[in-house]
Symmetry: C2
Subunit: 286 residues, 2 copies
């Protein structure tokens, strides 16, 4: 089956309106392209749950900081389309920045209406180093929701803070859809899949493996009955390669997003770290 490739909003709306008239359930997988097996798992899940599946492929300028990798972020639309075809997505929506934002595509909050998640959820973890990132994410996801009106939208746990923030947005703004929380997909050796893994040299990749190992170590300790986050933090650090530049390891209740001092059920343990120049994130939820 071949997915329809659409670049413009109006055509997407028309297709989806016709499907909705027939009572079909729509699934959306918002992506920035450079699709990998993690994305594939989301598309497959959508195929199971929905009648029609829309994959958006859009490297969203407003969620990148001025010194981030917007320009060099991998763009691989042809292979992305093939993957979507294989799994059986119905639409690949790949708009230009201009289609999404008009002429001026690096918009500030002086020009654009933003969706702003609660400051408490934004001013921590990845939001600390990526100022404005989650406002940009929430805004583009809201736009994509309004364009595609999905019944279900699929997000991976890999971006756990994003997942939490978008669930909160759906609740706070009464969006009539459900966010489906999908598990992290890993390489056999444990590395969490990420479009940014392609930036890694062989050595950096080897070093980066210690990030998922650190999370595994925390998990092992927890299974032995150790719940104190300071002890678990130290256990994680002891595993990280010395060339890995740690940004944070944090322990948060995945119901409230508050920091916890003792790990219990539904605790998020999240890491961000650089291997070489590449910033990577990973997490587990106990």
């Amino acid at each position: 089956m071949t997915a329809i490739l659409l670049n413009n909003i109006k055509e997407v709306r028309e297709n989806i309106k016709n499907w909705k008239k027939e009572g079909l359930k729509i699934g959306l997988i918002p992506t920035m392209g450079a699709l990998h097996a993690g994305h594939a798992s989301l598309i497959k899940k959508a195929k199971e749950m929905c009648d029609k599946v829309v994959v958006s492929v859009f490297v969203n300028p407003i969620q990148f900081g001025p010194n981030e990798d917007f320009d060099k972020y991998p763009r691989t639309l042809d292979t992305d389309r093939n993957l979507c075809d294989e799994i059986g997505a119905d639409i690949v929506f790949a708009p230009s920045p201009k289609e999404m934002y008009g002429e001026n595509t690096r918009l500030s909050n002086n020009e654009l209406t933003f969706v702003c998640p609660p400051y408490n959820l934004v001013d921590c973890l990845c939001g600390k180093s990526r100022l404005g990132h989650f406002d940009g994410v929430a805004t583009v996801v809201m736009k994509l929701f309004n364009i595609t009106t999905p019944d279900y939208a699929f997000f991976g746990q890999k971006d756990a803070q994003q997942l939490f923030i978008l669930k909160k947005m759906v609740k706070d703004l009464n969006l009539d859809l459900e966010i489906v929380h999908c598990p992290i997909v890993r390489e056999e050796d444990g590395l969490a899949l990420s479009s940014r893994n392609t930036y890694l040299t062989q050595q950096e990749r080897t070093n980066a493996l210690t990030i998922s190992k650190a999370l595994k170590e925390v998990s092992k300790y927890y299974e032995k009955g150790i719940t104190n986050t300071q002890v678990l933090f130290d256990a994680a650090i002891s595993v990280l390669d010395k060339n890995i530049e740690l940004e944070y390891i944090e322990f948060r209740d995945f119901e409230t997003f508050e920091k916890v001092s003792e790990v219990k059920n539904n605790t998020l343990i999240a890491i961000a770290a650089k291997s070489g120049k590449t910033r990577l994130i990973d997490n587990i939820i106990i």
Copy 2:
């Protein structure tokens, strides 16, 4: 005909989904209640353009500042319902603050996802004295849009800045609906209708009449060919009663919302002023 009074979001959604399945067009008039002939004109317009008309009645806590009139804002649901019945609205949606925001109903941006209009549009005119007001307005209107999924939403020109901001929100966030710009309704003597007019004493009301007179004066000057805003500003001032406490008179392009020094087609001339303790706004668009 009797409008259905609904207090909960789920029931509103169910009714509207059934209507949408039949292909009916939905109109929404978001109000804070205390309905007057201005609101009535919006409901009538909606009746003309739509198959089903929803009037929301909700005094939105998050758009009031701590020292504003949230508690004393008039609440007249019974008469509001009667008016909606008379004109033939189909649903009066009157949720509690708890239904809209949960237990904590005076939420800050630490707890709630907000919709934030462009700062340039917010940090001027009424936004200068009403900090956070338009974030609260945009957020509640987004919620109401998501709950009622209207094809058309009706707003009066009386709140011209609000109208401009909401149109911008619809465009920026790709909402699939049209905002219908409706004219200001005035008393015979020129006073723009407002739910807050009930706060006025007889004397304050008399003084307040000079606000619409000032706008008329500007209009007269413009018709004589005078376009310089400083001259027009002085003409307006000369008409205002000395007991009226002026907050602003501004001249803005209603396409860009930029200040203009020469009035031309589609220029907004907006006034905010207090008569007694009551803050009133009025405007004309040339």
